[in-house]
C-alpha cells in the first residue's frame, strides 16, 4: 500500500540533495572544525559556508548572528533562558502567548521557578495574538517577549511585524519561534523586526537534531551549554558538521522553491479543508482560514477522539496527527485548542493534516474518500453521538 504522509509539521523526509550534501562530512571530511590543521580547516570552511547561506536566506546582517543548535527546542531554550538570565538585572517579566510550543511554554514555566514572572497573552478564536494585548501586558519589568511566527497545531500566522514595532520602540527583546515557518513562507529577520528567531532543519526537509538561533548583533545571552569556545562562546560542543551542512542545503532549496510550492500547497490545503467541511457534519476548522501555513489543515470532529481517528487513518495508510491528549497519555487536550476556546470534549476530537512537497491532489482526494467513513464509524461507537438525530445525544 502506498502511504500518504500528511504530518509534515511533525517532521519531513530529508531531500536526497540534502543527504548528498551531507555525505562527504559523514565520510572523508571528518575533521573537527576547532582543529587548526587541514582537516579541521576544511570542516571550518563548511561550517562558515553553511552559516553564510543561512544568514543570507534569513536576511541577517552577518553570519555571526547565526548560532547552530541541536534543533528548535534547544534554540528556543537558548533564546529564552539565555536572554532572561543575561537581563535579569534589568527586569524579571516575560511575555509569551497562550499557544506557544512546549519548548517555549515549558521554558517560561521553568523560569518562573527562578524568580521570573510570565504573562501569557491570550489569542482570539482563530488563534491570533492581538498586538495591543502584548502592548497592554508590558510592564517596566518586561525584558523579553516570545511569540511564535506560526503555530504548529493550527497553522495560524501571527502579526510578528506589528508586535515588533511596539517592542522596538521600547527596546524590549523580541524572540520568535519560526520553526514552522522557515522554509515554508518568507522569513526575514528585518521585515519581522525580531531580535532572535528559532528554526529547526527537520521541518524543512533537512536532518533531525540540528537547528539554529538567529541572534541580532549586540545581544547578550547566557549560554545554555557551557564548554568549548564553539559558536563564539555561545554554544559549546563539537559541531554537527554534516547536519549543519544539510540544514543549509535544505534551507536554500526550500527558499528557492517557496514561490511555487507555497501557492501549490495552499490550493491543496483549501481543497482538503473544503472537502472535509462539506462531507463531514459537526466539524470545525481550527485556526484562521487565510492567515495560516500553506500546508496546515486542522479540524475538530465532534463526538470522537483524536487518537482513535489517527489509528484508523494509519490503517488506511494515512499518517496524520492530533492535539488529542490521548496521543501523549495526559488527560488535558492540547493547550492550543483550549486557548481557542474550544470545550475539552471537542478539543479531544482534533485532527491535523499537514501537507508537504510530495503531497499530490490524488492524495488529498484519497483522504477525502476515506475520512468520512472513519469518522462515521467512530461516531457510531460513541455514546455522545445520536446517529439518527445526527446530533449530540445528551
Amino acid at each position: 500500500m502506498n502511504r500518504i504522509y500528511l504530518d509534515h509539521a511533525a517532521t519531513t523526509p530529508m531531500r536526497p540533495e540534502v543527504l548528498e550534501a551531507m555525505l562527504p562530512y559523514l565520510r572523508e571530511q571528518y575533521g573537527n572544525p576547532s582543529s587548526i590543521y587541514t582537516e579541521g580547516r576544511e570542516a571550518r570552511k563548511a561550517l562558515d559556508r553553511a552559516r553564510d547561506r543561512i544568514a543570507k536566506v534569513l536576511g541577517a546582517s552577518s553570519p555571526r548572528e547565526i548560532i547552530f543548535t541541536s534543533g528548535g527546542s534547544e534554540a528556543d531554550n537558548l533564546a529564552i533562558k539565555g536572554a532572561a538570565f543575561a537581563l535579569k538585572n534589568k527586569g524579571n517579566h516575560i511575555i509569551t502567548s497562550a499557544i506557544e510550543h512546549h519548548a517555549v511554554y515549558d521554558t517560561c514555566r521553568y523560569l518562573e521557578k527562578h524568580g521570573f514572572k510570565v504573562t501569557l497573552v491570550p489569542v482570539d478564536s482563530y488563534g491570533i495574538v492581538d498586538p495591543a494585548a502584548v502592548e497592554a501586558a508590558l510592564t517596566p519589568e518586561t525584558i523579553l517577549v516570545s511569540i511564535m511566527h506560526a503555530n504548529n497545531e493550527i497553522g495560524t500566522i501571527q502579526p510578528i511585524a506589528e508586535i515588533s514595532k511596539i517592542l522596538r520602540e521600547r527596546g524590549i527583546l523580541f524572540h520568535t519561534d519560526a520553526v514552522q515557518t522557515v522554509g515554508h513562507i518568507p522569513v526575514d529577520v528585518d521585515e519581522l523586526g525580531v531580535d532572535m528567531l528559532s528554526l529547526s532543519a527537520h521541518k524543512f526537509y533537512g536532518p533531525k537534531g540540528v537547528g539554529a538561533l538567529y541572534v541580532r548583533k549586540g545581544i547578550r545571552l547566557h549560554p545554555l551549554i557551557h564548554g568549548g569556545g564553539q559558536e563564539q562562546n555561545r554554544r559549546a560542543g563539537t559541531e554537527n558538521v554534516a547536519g549543519i551542512v544539510g540544514m543549509a542545503e535544505a534551507l536554500v532549496l526550500a527558499a528557492g522553491e517557496m514561490g511555487e510550492e507555497a501557492p501549490r500547497q495552499r490550493e491543496l490545503r483549501d481543497r482538503l479543508i473544503q472537502g472535509i467541511l462539506a462531507r463531514i457534519p459537526h466539524t470545525r476548522l481550527n485556526g484562521h482560514p487565510e492567515k495560516r501555513l500553506p500546508g496546515n489543515v486542522s479540524v475538530c470532529f465532534e463526538y470522537i477522539e483524536g487518537e482513535a481517528l489517527l489509528l484508523n487513518l494509519d490503517m488506511q495508510g494515512i499518517a496524520a496527527s492530533s492535539g488529542s491528549a490521548c496521543t501523549s497519555g495526559s488527560l488535558e487536550p492540547s493547550h492550543v485548542l483550549l486557548a481557542l476556546g474550544l470545550p475539552h470534549e471537542i478539543a479531544h476530537g482534533s485532527l491535523r493534516l499537514t501537507l508537504g512537497r510530495g503531497t499530490t491532489a490524488a492524495e488529498i482526494d484519497a483522504v477525502l474518500e476515506v475520512l468520512p467513513g472513519i469518522v462515521e464509524k467512530l461516531r457510531q461507537m460513541s455514546p455522545l453521538y445520536d446517529a439518527n438525530a445526527g446530533c449530540k445525544a445528551h
Partner: protein
Amino acid sequence: MYSEKVMDHFTNPRNVGEIPDADGVGVEGNPVCGDIMKLWIKVEDGRIVDARFKTFGCGAAIATSSMITEMVKGKTIEEALQITNTAVAEALDGLPPVKMHCSNLAADALRKAIDDYLAKQKGAESSNG
C-alpha cells in the same frame, strides 16, 4: 506501541452498540477527559448473556471496552465482579503504561452496570415482595 490484540479489538471491536432492554447500564469516564464508556448487560439466571458498549476514547479505551464485553459474556455476576482492570489489560497482552487508566475505565463501567443490575433486582424483589 499497542499489542496486536489491542489493535485487533480496536479495529474490529466486538459488541459495539446498545441493548435496548438491558438489565444493567453503567457509564464511566468523562468526555472532558477524552474518555467515556457506556456498557449494557443482559442477565439471565444470574449469568451475563450479552454485553454491549459505546465508547468515546482512544484506541486503548475502545479495545478495553471490546475486550471486557467479551470477557463477561457467559460469566455469573459473581465471576464478572472478579474481573480487575489488570485482567483486562492482560487479556489484551498488555497496555502501554500511559494507557493503563483505560483499563480502569472498562472495569469501573462494568462494575457500575452490575451495580445497576443489582439495584434493579433489589427494586424488583422489593416491589415483588
